[in-house]
């Protein structure tokens, strides 16, 4: 009984101002930045005259030292705050002193002239005189110990106080406050194509004590200073967080500062209403043009890029990553001229050994290369190659499929923005995709008269990219072999073919089906394999 009475005696007395916030370990230099904030919820004004603020050293019993004593003119009315602290504080304290508080386990207390005492202790305190109920948790440097809500009085420091961003002279918890959750602002997709629809996504939080009614918060997205979309938020209970999205159109092309601003009548804290993040609409300064993800000659993986910015570009600081966005391999500083190609290499020395004629100045070693996958997932994607600027803004992103691609062949960006298989094993680092002349027909076998052991080439020209197969039949119409099966092809392309066929007349049939189509386009071409008996 005596113990309970003692504990109760150390908590906030009724109808008196209370300790609302303590910053005992400011970020950086403590001098001039420490403070103790008092708050009054008493129904009548309370004089602070004779009130003593004492600091306690929790390492032993009875170690209290006076820090401040209230003057005759110091009075707190209901809802007011009284700030005691260093000269560097903003706003300026009502009483400027050097508190010199310890980082814990320690305590502060208010001793009223009539004998009532309120104690706030933090950390692993051993002696009961240093806390009320249970000591509050020690907080990290830069955070204050704040009473939430400001008039909380549960009878325990541990439940009344929590870590918070310092808010001297302001409420620890506002009544009405919508806030954007830090780090939650993003574009979806991350790098939308120019002119395509996009979403600005973020999470907002009701940081106040009162519920927020539906439609009260308007979320406004800005591209730099231009508004690009708005959305009204749903109702938010106190402490609740919800996701919001704002529809927009990704235009014009370029990098910008994406900004989300919350607007709500009566919002008591403007500082948490705005969030910024760098973003981009459309392609960045570098374009990925070829990907070697399964080298067959020991040259290591590599990615070819093109400077599409129109100006010389320093590649230093760009990062290269895979689908998991892990690694973030850093490129070394190299200036790439406009429209020039560069190869980002997993193993620069091995790549140069395999392709000794490459311009060494444009073969760039990448630190901490994330190995690219060689087999597709259920969605038909083997991996994703991502390029980012130093601050994480996306520059280029390519999903590729490994299906139907023999080891050594690359994925290469062909005309029209379509990706195809390289024409040759090993790919074509630092060389643009071959420009192919138009064909007279949809399918050609080159040469038309083959001889045993002679390499052949299958060329095609179709109206759209497609999944294509080429099947070989003999003159009788019997199926002989498949030249290739179900490959993703560009409208104009070619593929080398080792025609291991006995002499005779054959018919090649191209079957090409674009995405979503059910009936394929077919084209035939007769050719001869010559030989003697």
């Amino acid at each position: 009984m005596l113990s309970l009475a003692l504990v109760a005696a150390l908590c906030a007395p009724a109808e008196r101002p209370v300790i609302a916030e303590v910053l005992y370990d400011p970020a950086g230099d403590d001098t001039g930045n420490e403070f103790v904030e008092l708050y009054s919820s008493a129904s009548a004004p309370v004089s602070l005259a004779g009130l003593r603020l004492e600091a306690g050293d929790g390492s032993g019993p009875g170690r209290w030292t006076l820090r401040w004593t209230g003057g005759t003119g110091d009075t707190l009315r209901r809802g007011e705050r009284f700030l005691i602290g260093g000269a560097k504080l903003v706003p300026a304290p009502d009483a400027i002193i050097t508190l010199d508080l310890q980082n814990g386990p320690d305590a502060v207390r208010l001793v009223w002239p009539h004998g009532a005492i309120e104690v706030l202790g933090w950390g692993a305190l051993e002696f009961g005189e240093y806390f009320c109920g249970e000591a509050a948790a020690d907080v990290a440097s830069g955070f204050s110990l704040a009473r939430v809500p400001d008039d909380a009085g549960t009878g325990s420091n541990a439940t009344d106080f929590r870590a918070a961003s310092p808010s001297p002279g302001r409420a620890n918890q506002t009544r009405r406050n919508a806030a954007v959750v830090a780090g939650s602002l993003a574009l979806d997709p991350e790098q939308p194509e120019v002119g395509a629809p996009a979403l600005v996504r973020a999470r907002i939080h009701n940081a106040g004590r009162d519920p927020i009614e539906a439609g009260a918060v308007t979320c406004i997205a800005f591209r730099d200073d231009f508004e690009i979309g708005t959305a009204a938020a749903a109702a938010l209970a106190a402490g609740e967080t919800l996701a919001v999205q704002i529809s927009t159109v990704a235009a014009p092309e370029g990098r910008f500062e994406l900004r989300l601003v919350l607007s709500m009548a009566g919002d008591e804290a403007a500082a948490d209403d705005t969030l910024r993040a760098p973003a981009r609409f459309g392609p960045g300064s570098l374009e990925i043009t070829e990907i070697q993800f399964h080298p067959a000659s020991g040259e290591g993986e590599w990615v070819e890029v093109r400077n599409r910015s129109g100006v010389a570009l320093d590649l230093g600081g760009f990062t290269l990553a895979d689908r998991a966005d892990r690694g973030g391999a850093l490129l070394t500083a190299t200036v790439l001229m406009p429209e020039s190609l560069a190869v980002l290499a997993q193993d620069r020395a091995s790549l140069l050994a395999t392709f000794p004629s490459l311009d060494t100045a444009r073969v760039i070693a990448v630190q901490s290369w994330s190995a690219l996958n060689n087999s597709d997932d259920d969605a038909g994607i083997a991996d994703v190659v991502r390029l980012r600027e130093r601050d994480g803004v996306p520059v280029a992103r390519v999903e590729y499929s490994a299906a139907g691609l023999p080891a050594g062949f690359t994925r290469e960006l062909a005309g029209g923005g379509f990706w195809t298989a390289s024409s040759f094993a090993g790919g074509s680092p630092l060389a643009p995709p071959p420009v192919r002349p138009p064909l007279e027909s949809a399918l050609e076998i080159v040469p038309r008269r083959l001889r045993a052991g002679m390499p052949a080439r299958i060329e095609w020209s179709i109206p759209w990219p497609a999944r294509a197969s080429v099947t070989i039949y003999d003159l009788e119409g019997a199926r002989v072999t498949e030249a290739f099966t179900e490959l993703s092809v560009t409208p104009r392309g070619e593929r080398s073919w080792d025609a291991r066929l006995p002499p005779g007349l054959y018919v090649a049939v191209l079957s090409a089906k674009p995405a979503g189509a059910t009936v394929p386009l077919t084209a035939t071409r007769a050719f001869r394999v010559e030989g003697t008996r």
Binding site: L475, E476, G477, L505, V509, T524, A526, R528, G531, T532
Partner: protein, 266 residues
Amino acid sequence: MKGAIARVMVPAIVLAAFCGEVQAQDFAAAVPVMGEGALSLIEHGVAATPPGAAFEGGVVRWLGIDDFTTRSLAVSGRWRSLTGAAGLSATGGDEGWRSAGIASGYAGSNAGAALRAVFRQDAAPEAIETPLGRGAGLEAGTGAWIRPRPGLDVWASHPQIYMKGAAPPLNRGLETGIRLAGDGISAWLARRAAGGREARHRGGVALEFGTVASAWIEARDDPLRTGYGIEARSRLVAVAFALETHPVLGETARLSLAIGGAPGGP
């Protein structure tokens, strides 16, 4: 005599049944089974030409490809049990070839056998050089049939036993087949062994409308496809047309016209 022929032919057919494949190319006729005619005798070596002299011409449009239409013309003659035929053929244009064929053999009432040979010359000037000349090739083979009892025919054809020079457009090994006939209806089944691959098969049913007409349907595998045909005959003239579909490629259309001789066959 019949017993002697059977003793020779049946083992030969069984032995040959596991060799290559056969399909008409230079002298193709419209009729599905080796019937009487100069074209069949030259193409397959199955000896059964009508008595006396006869002419036969054929046109085949292969798999819907215009560039490789075959046109052929042949003449045949039969004196007692000796039969023979000779013909010329042209396939395609600049990428095609020209052929000359000849066949001769024995044709009895219950069996027959013949030798056949075709000389082929590629039309393309860049054709391969061979010992016989640029783009020139020669092939020779044989065919035979027997009728062990009325209404049952068994045949075999191996037209490319010997080859020299430029390889032919189509490798043709051996085909063996059997046909059952009676009361105006007949059915046949043929097997073509394809070296290194599964054998190919075809089969069909034909209806005879007296001596003046017949119609048939036929199916084959690899890939599965069907065809049909019709033949009209008079005392001196026979016209046949056949069409075969293909699931991927175009249709193969065959037309043949025979003049002279008399209806009948193996």
